[in-house]
Every structure is written in C-alpha cells, then in structure tokens.
C-alpha cells in the first residue's frame, strides 16, 4: 500500500486509466500522508457525498432491485432533509449490475474510478456480492452490502466489505430451527436455490436442525433461473413432516403455485422463507394452498398493529408502502418488505459512520471502516425501523430479531418473534486483523 503511496498524487490530473487505477489503489491512508490532499478535501467540503448504488435493475434480481432503489432513494431523501452527512448532501449514483457477478465487479470499478463515489452500497444477490467484493477490496473502497448471505461473516470476503444493516442467513436459520423442530416436525425436506445464498440455507439450517435433534432427509437444489418447478416436487419423500422452501428469481410465483397444486389438500407442514414470496401478491390466484403455512419474515409485510414496531408506520409512509406491503400507487405492486429495510438501515449506518469518522473524502475511507467496526449496537429508531440490532465489528455482521408468520385468510400474521440472542453464533473471522 505505502510503496505505491509516493507515486500517487491526488492533485495531478489523471490522464490514463492506469494512473487512475493506481491512484485509487493507493488508498486512503497513503494519500492522507500528503498534506495537499487535505486542503483539496476542505475546498470541496460542500460537495455531495457520493454513494454508488449497485442495483439489480435487470436480471433475476430485478423485483428486489426495484424496491431496493425506492427504499434507498427514500432514505437518502430523509437524510438530506435532516441536513445530510456532516452537513453535506448525499447523492446516490445508481448503476445496474444485471444481477450478474461479472458485471458486478465492473460496476464496483466504475464507481471507484469513473464516478469517483465515496463508497459502494446496496448489493443483494450473494453471487454478485461474492463476485464484486474482491475488486472492492483491491480498490480499497468500502462496500456496504445488503445481502443476507453468510459470506461476509464467514470470512470469505475482505475488510472493505460490511453488512451492518441486515442479518445473515446463518443467524436467521439458527433462530428458526428450534421453533420449526418444536412446533412443526423433525423430518425436513429442503428446497433451495442452487447458488451461494441457497447453499447457506442448506448448510446452516441442516446443522441447526441436527442440533435440535431433527434431520434434513432430502435436499432439493433448484437453479435460480428455473421457470418450471413441478418436476422437482416428486422428489419430496413421503415421510416428510416439514417442507422447508426458499426460492428466488423470476419464477417464484410459479414455484409457490405449483407447490400448492402438487400437494392439494394433503400436505406436510410448510415452512418457507418469505423470499419465495417477495414481490408476489399473496392474493394471486393459485396461492390459496399457502393458507395455514408458515413464513420467516425479517420485517412483517402486513402491518401488525400490535405495538411491536413503533417506527413501522413512519417507514412505510416514507418508502411508499401501504399496510399490506404493497405500493401506495399500485396495490398489485408488492414490495420486498423483508429485505429492503436493509438499504434504509445501512444508509443510516453509513451516515453514522461517516460522522463518527469525520469523513471528508475518499482519503478517509479507512477511517470510515474503522468507525463502523467500532459500533456495537443500533437501537430501534426511525433509522432502524425493523428493530434493534447488535453489530460485531470483527465479523462485519449485524444481528437482529426474526419473525415467523402464518398465512391466515390470505394475510401474514406474526406468530413468533425470536430474540437477538437466539440468532448469535461463534465468530468465524476477525476482519479487524486484516490491513486496511
């Protein structure tokens, strides 16, 4: 890092792509050593803070991308209305990654070099995160993901990747397994998408179930681009007590429909992750078969009105979602309510981190990482409407409350809430030991 320092001067006009690359790669600490750099930043202190938003506008993540974008814009608006970050306005620069890992890495590079954003933020799909994270690490640009994958806390990524605004699959499924084995059954068949995110479910839920004395008797992996699901259902063993499903991609509606069709009235207990139903109207024809089944939800789609989420109404209004989780403009446009709050909360954490670090510009990127690593808790508030979270600075991962909801008369109602403690596990990495 420092060996490249003297070569790079942020003052010089950059003529070639290579120079630019070097400059950015030299990173915050090295540049901070240059006295001129500080003056440059001060001179531009009224400039907006530029946040690169890596969005799944197209490809298999488009339904999530649309709502991630709406939520991000609403959060940025709120932050700007409240005076911005360190007195500077926030500007969201959006780039579509096509939900494609290769494009994801290019988009990170584009943010760092072409758009010169301060940080990169907002990626959901785990394969895109895993594809993009190494580039973010090389470019030393903070990369705040909103992905749920266990890849951050597993230690697979690097110090520049953080997930402070949404919980990870491992903690979610560890907190679900005791309830599933205690209330629904011990013999589980799992249906999951065949990529990193689905593999997290497969591995950690199986382990958590085994710890409860349960057993996963069949694991059915489905490619996330699949459009026809019926052919997978005959593989569900007869002795299955609980069918565990989590599906993503363009075919989720077909998936839940065909699952209902397959079982008719004679079904095992069904426990799904709301991912199988995100952006899907529960009132769609053919989904009647989901009545009486259970779903994990991070943030209940249907407003619960039981005082459990005091900031829910405020948040719903700001992101433009009604009490049924649909867009205020179009009741058929269903949100991805259990995921998109992560963008809202992460942006507020970025604000908190930048303010704690006295963030002035790209030279302070390392300081921002250290500031966020020092956080331990995010109390429930308008900035954290889903609920209180704890944060582990070593694993770069947040932990929070999870919900189990039951479909009752075509709506989801919460039947069980976990505590944060239910979802904790032993840290697997200490990112703070890695160099910045």
């Amino acid at each position: 890092m420092t060996d490249q320092g003297p070569k790079s001067t942020t003052q010089k006009k950059q003529f070639s792509r290579r120079d630019t690359l070097k400059t950015v790669a030299a990173g915050g600490l090295a540049a901070a050593a240059l006295p001129l750099a500080g003056r440059f930043n001060q001179a531009h202190s009224a400039e907006p803070i530029r946040i690169g938003f890596q969005a799944h506008r197209t490809g298999i993540g488009a339904a999530y991308g649309r709502w991630y974008e709406r939520t991000t814009m609403a959060a940025a608006q709120l932050i700007n209305d409240g005076g911005g970050i360190n007195g500077r306005p926030v500007e969201i620069v959006t780039e579509d990654d096509g939900t494609d890992p290769k494009r994801g890495a290019e988009v990170v590079e584009k943010f760092a070099i072409q758009h010169k954003t301060d940080i990169v933020f907002g990626t959901l799909f785990s394969h895109v995160v895993i594809g993009s994270a190494p580039r973010a690490g090389e470019l030393k640009i903070p990369y705040f993901v909103v992905s749920e994958g266990h890849h951050v806390a597993s230690g697979k990524l690097n110090r520049y990747v953080l997930q402070p605004g949404i919980t990870d699959v491992k903690s979610q499924v560890s907190s679900m397994a005791p309830w599933v084995s205690g209330n629904l059954g011990k013999k589980v068949t799992m249906i999951f998408p065949d990529f990193a995110f689905g593999h997290d479910h497969r591995d950690y839920f199986s382990a958590a179930m085994a710890a409860q004395g349960g057993e996963v008797i069949e694991k059915i992996a489905i490619p996330p681009t699949e459009t026809n699901f019926f052919k997978y259902f005959p593989r569900i063993p007869k002795e299955t007590e609980v069918l565990y499903h989590v599906m993503v991609g363009p075919g989720v509606l077909t998936f839940v429909k065909e699952m209902g069709q397959f079982f008719g009235g004679d079904r095992p207990e069904i426990f799904g992750f709301i991912d199988s139903l995100e952006a899907v109207d529960l009132a769609s024809p053919g989904l009647e078969a989901l009545e009486g089944t259970y779903f994990w939800e991070a943030f209940p789609r249907y407003a619960q009105n039981d005082g459990s989420n005091p900031h829910d109404a405020f948040y719903r209004e700001k992101v433009g979602v009604d009490a049924n989780g649909a867009s205020l403009n179009d009741p058929k446009d269903i949100s991805t309510y259990s995921h998109m709050f992560g963008c809202w909360e992460t942006l507020h954490i970025i604000k908190q981190g930048m303010e704690a670090a006295g963030y002035q510009g790209p030279d302070d990127r390392a300081k921002l990482i250290e500031a966020v690593e020092s956080f331990t808790e995010f109390p429930e508030s308008q900035a954290h409407p889903q609920g209180m979270k704890t944060f582990n600075g070593k694993t770069h991962q947040a932990f929070g409350i999870q919900n189990i909801s039951k479909v009752n008369e075509g709506k989801l109602g919460v039947v069980h809430r976990t505590s944060i403690e239910d979802s904790l596990y032993e840290p697997e990495v200490d990112y703070t030991q890695m160099p910045l």
Partner: protein
Amino acid sequence: MDYGTFFLIASMEGAVQAAVLALTALGLSLVFGVMRVVNVAHGEFYMLGAVIAYWVSSQISGSPLLGFMAALILSPLLVGVLAAVADRLILKRLNYDPEATIVATIGLLYILQQAALTLHGPVPTAVAAPFDFYVRFPGFGYSGYKLFVIVACIALMLGTWFLLAKTRIGLVMRATQYDRETAQAFGIPVDRVYAGVFALGAALAAIAAVLIVPTQQAYYLMGGDPLLLSFIVVIIGGLGSLRGTVVAAILIGMSDGIISTLFEPTLAKMIATALVALVLVFRPTGLFGTVAR
C-alpha cells in the same frame, strides 16, 4: 412416493415439454428448410409471444378465457407481422446469405430482448390460465391446463402439417424449398413466400409461448432455453425435416421431463447436448435429414 407415480409425473411433464418444444422447433425448422436461414432470434419471437399475451390478456377484463383467446389470436399475428417486416428490412437485403443472416438474427435477438426489457420491464408477469382445473391423482395434483396444452399443441401441429402438405400455400412453400430458382421461373413470388415462411415460423414460436405462459410467467429473458432446445431438436431431427423435428422434439422433451424428474435437470441438458454431439459426428444430417441441396 412410489415409482409408478413418479414415472407418471415425469411422463406428463415430459409430454408438456415435448408438445411445446415440437411447436417451437417446427418454426425454426420450417424457416431453415425453406429459407436456409438459421434464425438465432427464434427464442425472442417466443418471448415476444408470451409478453404480448400478457399485454393482451391484461387489457381484456372479465373472464381469463376471453383474454386468453384474444392472446391466442393476436399474439402470433403481431409476432408474425413483426417477423415479416424483419424479413423485408433485414434478411432480404442480405440476399439470405447464410453467414450474414446468422449475424443479423443475433442482432435481432438483442434488439427484441432489449425492446422487451424497455417496454415490458425486467420483472416477470403472470398470465392467468383460461381455466382453473386440477386433476387429482393419487398422491399429487396436476394442472388440467397443462393437459390441455398437450392437446392444443398436437392440434396445431396437425394444422401446420395440413397447411404444408394439403394446401396450395404449402405446395408453393415446398416448391420454393425444393428449388428456389425454378420456383421463381414458374411464377412463384419467392420474396413473398420467404416473408410468409419467416412470419409463420415466428408465429409458431409465439403461439407455443402463449400456450405455455399461463404455467410460467412472461419474462424478457425467457427466450434462451427454448432457442437452445429448438436447436438441439432441429439438429437431432435433421435440419429442414419437419418429421424429424417432431420425432426429435418428442425424444428430447420426454427425456428431459423424465430425466429432470427422476434425476437432475442439469443431467437432462447434458444428455441432450451429448446427443447433439453424437448425431453431428455419426449422422451429420440428423436422424431424418437429407443432404442439403
């Protein structure tokens, strides 16, 4: 689940797949047979068929049956017109040169796909089935609509066969396929035949998509799989041989359905691709193909 039920589901899934695939591949095969054009954009005509079906059925309120019937007529018609225009504007100007048309249809693929992305959006949309009817088998339920799809595809294929074998239009097409120059010398308007064949090929893909979309969703990236499978079918069956196309579609569709259900979908694709390689090595003209003229 006992083996018999397992096999029954596998066969029904295979039959649906085979029926839709036969119809889609028939369009590709027809275009190649008559025009010697390898239409790489064929899958996008399929996708357009589904997307237009969504638009048509969402415009018509009331019973889903009405919307479906309207889509069944309008969607292939619009896609056919679009294909005829593409033929006139692009393929004709390239003199149907085999290499140039491949490149041109690749371009067309991207134009159609991006147009659908821009106009229809990136999110898959559901199309209501014309009727909701489930057949209860012991141990599982099956969509009656899917069984209807099989019957409809067979009827449409018989109709296409009748058109090609028994009507004057078919005669003209076959004459053009047999020998373009002689056909022209006998006063057959070869240009119009070409536009018509290209339109018919695209319309067959579109109609297959209209039939299958109520069991899936209309999505701008849905053209990839049918294109690949159609190519597999057409290569195995013999380029330009309609009989070969139907036989290969049944072979590939059924084996895909059965292997996907009993084992893994990826294995089914691997076997189909391996079959293509074997056919190309040992019988390059395909099962029913004749040497190109």
